[in-house]
């Protein structure tokens, strides 16, 4: 039950906001902030009470919803879900705080949207029912669409529609897959279920050919969210046009819904199909790492640069997931948190600069260090975390995903995925230092930069806690890895048993042959 307040407080906040007069801007802001902080406290309670030792779902809630479809209001969290929920509840107050000064129209609607967004995102991480998952998945779409479309930049309509269509396309396939999957819920045939806990157990016994189609349908919708190359082109537009808070949430949490889905559904439900597609997914992931980095290198717009860096960094996560090793998965999970923190910080920094100068072009800056030294330090920490400097969080995730993918059995011991992906580590230094140098170093050539003011108190409140977390994860990663340890190991054990040589493999291989998919291999 500890999760209910975490899930419902944002919804309650949205409802509460509806009763606040829309001209009472201060009241609206405070209401939103208070609810997000309450949610954080509620999640912290759940986090601290979480049993590390167990890989099972905890704080289960199971309420009947649609009996005929065996769909229910089922929520619960395992180690990786609880980490991502924490990430969400940490990012949201920051996103609300950063909106105080930058959002200046229809404030009431805006904060209602933010609250709904949080409700949806938390729901996705907690749902243990495919229908419920789908509902939350769709709930996210609407507020994000409006946040970009109403409070975005010059080209916001194009960006918001592109975002909407891309994700909508993916969700439709997912809905079909969820229905198809539901019919497999009862191995004896005839039954239908949306209960994820049941489906988790029966998933591997689904015939190979069906598994493959289901895998593809889920993977496509998740890959769009991640985004995996070549489905990434909505991201730069969405990021550039979204208001700062939108970008922070987008990079901080939304993208993780995709990678989370890949683990929760693809890997967990369809281990054989995952093994079958592992190479393809890893190839796309590695292409994404290098491609995103190379394209980021030639961007002149800071926000676009950071957006493409996300494409690169998310590639590491997908690589870690489909390495199907403990190190790879643990790395992927911690990297989701890391990317949320460091890229979130980078967008906050870009937002801080934009608010002062109303430009995102690197060349309009230069020499900012002289005017904003404290900001320079925080911006530097965010940049270095993103570069993957050891001692900061980014390194832990990158190192583990690369280690996991190196010589992974699921990738037939192929080492080249790691070798190529590791070259992204070099490129990350190239583009991020280019950005940092261009903005912070050199003399002040543009007179408009003369009057820049250093970090405000509000900005410090947003950035310093995130920076502290970057150090914490970098220096004491075990604090967080312990949470996801049991559930990851359990998952890897399950997946491995269905791989060639595993205990469950022979049986499934026989079944897949009868299903007529032997020619696929």
């Amino acid at each position: 039950m500890a999760l209910l307040p975490v899930l419902l407080l944002p919804l309650l906040g949205a409802v509460a906001l509806m009763f606040v007069d829309r001209t009472a801007v201060k009241g609206i802001k405070m209401t939103a902030l208070i609810f997000s902080i309450l949610t954080f406290i509620a999640s912290l309670a759940a986090f601290l009470g979480f049993d590390h030792g167990s890989g099972d779902f905890q704080y289960l809630v199971d309420w009947t919803w649609i009996t005929s479809l065996d769909a229910g209001f089922r929520i619960g969290a395992d180690g990786m879900a609880i980490l991502l929920v924490m990430l969400t509840t940490v990012i949201m107050p920051v996103a609300i705080l950063t909106s105080f000064s930058s959002i200046k129209k229809s404030e009431k609607l805006y904060y209602v949207m933010l609250m709904l967004l949080q409700f949806g995102m938390t729901g996705v991480f907690l749902a243990l029912d495919t229908f419920l998952f789908y509902v939350f998945w769709e709930v996210i779409l609407i507020p994000m669409y409006f946040i970009i479309g109403i409070w975005g930049g010059q080209n916001r309509i194009y960006a918001s529609i592109k975002f909407f269509l891309y994700t909508m396309f993916g969700s439709l396939l997912m809905l079909i897959a969820i229905i198809w999957l539901g019919f497999h819920g009862d191995p004896s045939g005839g039954g239908f279920t949306a209960n994820l806990l049941t489906l988790r157990d029966v998933g591997p016994s689904i015939p190979m050919e069906t598994q493959q189609w289901l895998f593809l349908a889920f993977a496509l919708s998740f890959a769009i969210k991640v985004p995996l190359f070549p489905l990434h082109t909505w991201l730069p537009d969405a990021h550039v046009q979204a208001p700062t808070a939108g970008s922070v949430i987008l990079a901080g949490v939304l993208l993780k819904l995709g990678t989370y889905g890949l683990i929760r559904f693809n890997l967990e439900l369809f281990p054989q199909a995952s093994y079958y597609f592992a190479d393809a997914m890893c190839v796309l992931a590695v292409i994404g790492v290098i491609y995103g980095a190379l394209v980021a290198m030639v961007q002149t717009d800071i926000k676009k640069l950071v957006a493409y860096s996300s494409v690169s960094h998310m590639g590491f996560i997908v690589l870690g997931i489909f390495s199907m090793t403990t190190a790879g998965l643990q790395g992927a999970i911690i990297q989701m948190v890391n990317h949320g923190l460091s890229t979130g910080m980078l967008f906050l920094c870009v937002g801080a600069l934009y608010e002062r100068r109303h430009t995102r072009e690197i060349e309009d800056y230069g020499g900012v260090m002289a005017r904003m030294p404290r900001f320079g330090v925080i911006f530097g920490i965010a940049m270095l975390a993103s570069v993957g400097l050891p001692g900061l969080n980014g390194f832990v995730g990158e190192f583990l995903t690369l280690l996991g993918a190196y010589n992974a059995p699921a990738l037939d011991g192929n080492v080249w995925y790691t070798v190529f992906a590791a070259s992204g580590v070099i490129l990350a230094a190239v583009y991020l230092l280019k950005m940092y140098n261009g903005v912070m170093f050199g003399p002040i050539n543009n007179t408009k930069n003369e009057s820049l003011t250093d970090m405000t108190r509000s900005e410090a409140w947003q950035l310093v806690p995130l920076a502290a977390l970057c150090f914490w994860i970098g220096l004491f990663p075990n604090t967080f890895l312990d949470y996801s340890k049991a559930s990851t190991e359990q998952l890897v054990e399950k997946v491995e048993s269905f791989l060639p040589g595993g205990s469950g493999y022979a049986m499934e291989a026989a079944e897949s042959t009868t299903a007529g998919t032997s020619d696929d291999h």
Partner: protein, 659 residues
């Protein structure tokens, strides 16, 4: 005492944090400077205590598991586990003493050198950060913690090269000091990539990243060869060897004390440390050893020739550093691990002294760095001159100065043990190239000495009044010059007989097995290891003669007055090639960097992203829109049309059913 090692490491971190957070509020430079220096000084004293404790132990007890100090478990995933733990042994404590000892002197020097700088506290904070990271690098008990230090010193180096971020620093593809800083970081990252992959290989092979574990389990294999080669790639980055040396000369954009500490005495020797620390692994992979020896000696020669015609006082020293590091790698390559570490130490003394001396010169010449515009400084700044001269004699290999012992030992080992390489010709070739490099070294050093300190003043005496630097600067100079002069006596070659080689015995618990293993391997291939004392004396005589001749030539050419002095150089054969450093920077720029940028911009970004993928997405959207536009026309809103269509439909259905 041993367990105090975390304190040694933490002190500079405390300094960094305090100076970083509150430094700018402390208005008194002296307080900031001495606080920063003090942190390193105390660390040095504790390290000295630990050193004596180790010395009191039996040699076998000085290294090994018992000397690991655990702090906490850092990263645990499945069967992968790495601790924050420090390995205190003769090798790491020697590096610790160099880092904190030379580091302390350079901190003190910086109090004078950075006087009046607007970011004085920031400078000391960065220096302390550097010391902290460097100590992690050398004291780590495993690869991953070394890697933290490895990248951490890279960060400190980046911050310090770009310290004067408002200043210009021209170069190939460079405009600001920040660009030079970025170049250093990126070049190092290329090397770090190698180190990262090497760690993956080693973990796959041995299930551990602990140095002692791996050394114990190591066996020769192709995978191990790949790992050591990749580790060496990391070394070419950090220790500025071919092909990644290009960043070091540009690192001179930073303040001179930084060049002395990071880019001469300590950080750039990390590569030598890494090979020495893993001597067991390298000794098992002859292919890698051959590559190291060849790259080392080629870098030594290549960089030494580049230094000949440079006119920037710091650049000459920078190329000299690259070259000296090459000597050290040549030594490692022929299996003389201890000798390489010996040269690290002597080099730390004389090169730090030379850099600090050059800083003293630049300081008094009002930021002038061009030696063509100097001359006659001897009488204006005697302390600087004498210390600079002593160190120059040391680096040139004049007998009984420190560099003489270490460099000569390298040459001898190359000659006597190099026969296993290059089809049996390795001994002669490596010795020959190294001797040639030594000739260039003595030449460019004394060109520097004569152009800077001798002859008449070639600057406007009315405007510039050179003066000796304050005591905070000259004191470190004298200490270092003293060490550069006599420091070599701890590693006296065996042919001298009059005193034992203390250093060799000291490092024996760490590299002894590997060295012996390597010698055994060389002998097993049938290559004869030369043991003739007469030959050793003869070669020593030859190398001394080479140095003396080079100095005489430099004296003849440069110890005279303008205008014949420098203008004549431009006419020399190969001048242009050497002056432009073989156009390596230009080659990298035009053959690698520019093409990658173009590919990314015009192909990946503008074509694939914008045209192809987005073209498809937008095309689909347009297509849907167009079709909808056509279909929409059916929806006329006129009831008669609908009735008409319905009738048509019924007819079609009836016809279809009838057929």
């Amino acid at each position: 005492m041993l367990t105090l090692i975390p304190v040694v490491i933490l002190l500079p971190l405390v300094g960094f944090v305090i100076l970083g957070l509150f430094g700018s509020r402390i208005k008194n430079e002296k307080v900031v400077g001495w606080f920063g220096s003090g942190m390193v000084g105390i660390a040095f004293l504790i390290a000295l205590g630990i050193f004596f404790e180790l010395m009191g132990m039996a040699p076998e007890a000085r290294a090994g598991e018992a000397n690991i100090v655990q702090v906490y478990s850092w990263l645990t995933v499945g069967d992968f586990s790495v601790d924050i733990a420090y390995l205190v042994d003769p090798l790491s404590i020697l590096f610790t003493l160099i880092i904190t000892g030379v580091g302390f002197l350079i901190h003190v020097y910086s109090i004078g050198y950075m006087h009046g700088d607007e970011s004085f506290p920031r400078f000391f904070a960065y220096l302390n950060l550097f010391i902290f990271m460097m100590l992690n690098l050398v004291l780590a008990s495993n690869f991953l913690l070394t890697f933290l230090g490895w990248e951490g010193v890279g960060l400190a180096s980046y911050l310090l090269i770009g310290f004067w971020y408002k200043r210009k620093f021209p170069g190939v593809g460079l405009v600001w000091t920040g660009d030079a800083a970025r170049k250093a970081f990126v070049a190092n990252r290329v090397g770090d990539f190698g180190m990262l992959i090497a760690m993956f290989i080693l973990f796959t092979l041995y299930g551990s990243l602990d140095y002692l574990d791996i050394a114990m389990k190591a066996e020769a294999s192709t995978a191990l060869t790949a790992a050591t080669l990749l580790l060496f790639l990391g070394c070419t980055g950090k220790s500025a060897q071919i092909p990644l040396f290009v960043w070091l000369p540009d690192a001179m954009a930073g303040p001179t004390s930084v060049s002395a500490l990071i880019h001469a005495a300590t950080m750039v020797t990390s590569g030598i440390f890494l090979v020495a620390r893993n001597a067991t692994l390298f000794a098992l992979t002859p292919a890698t050893m051959e590559v190291i020896a060849i790259i080392g000696v080629l870098t030594a020669l290549f960089a030494a020739t580049m230094g000949i015609f440079q006119n920037d006082i710091k650049k000459v020293l920078a190329y000299s550093t690259v070259s000296q590091l090459g000597f050290m790698f040549a030594a490692l390559g022929v299996g003389a691990f201890g000798v390489a570490v010996f040269h690290v130490m002597t080099h730390a003394f004389f090169k730090a002294c030379l850099f600090l001396g050059s800083g003293s010169v630049i300081h008094s010449m009002h930021e002038e760095q061009n030696i063509q515009k100097m001359g006659g400084l001897k009488k204006h700044m005697p302390s600087t001159y004498w210390t600079f001269l002593l160190s120059s004699l040391a680096i040139s290999g004049i007998p009984f100065f420190s560099g003489f012992f270490s460099k000569d030992e390298i040459l001898w080992k190359a000659f006597s043990q190099g026969g296993v390489f290059l089809g049996g010709m390795g001994g002669y070739l490596i010795w020959g190239l190294a001797a040639l490099a030594a000739f260039c070294t003595a030449f460019y050093m004394f060109r520097l000495v004569y152009l800077t300190f001798h002859g008449k003043e070639r600057f406007d005496v009315a405007k510039v009044h050179p003066h000796e630097s304050p005591a905070t600067m000259t004191f470190p100079l004298w200490v270092l010059a003293g060490l550069a002069t006599v420091g070599g006596f701890i590693g006296v070659p065996h042919v001298f007989h009059f005193m034992p080689n203390y250093l060799e015995g000291w490092l024996d618990p760490v590299v002894g097995t590997a060295t012996a293993g390597w010698i055994a391997f060389v002998e097993s291939t049938g290559v004869h290891i030369v043991h003739s004392e007469a030959l050793e004396w003869a070669l020593m005589g030859a190398s001394v003669a080479i140095a003396v001749i080079a100095i005489m030539i430099a004296r003849k050419l440069y110890n005279r007055e303008m205008p014949t002095l420098v203008s004549s150089e431009t006419g020399w054969a190969g001048y242009k090639l050497l002056f432009n450093k073989y156009y390596v920077d230009e080659m990298y720029q035009n053959l690698i960097l520019t093409p990658i940028g173009k590919l990314s911009n015009s192909f990946l970004f503008r074509l694939v992203d914008v045209q192809v993928v987005d073209g498809l997405v937008n095309g689909t959207a347009t297509l849907v829109g167009r079709s909808a536009d056509i279909l929409r026309r059916l929806q006329t809103g006129i009831v008669q049309n609908y009735a008409m269509l319905m009738l048509l439909g019924i007819v079609v259905v009836i016809v279809w059913m009838a057929v």
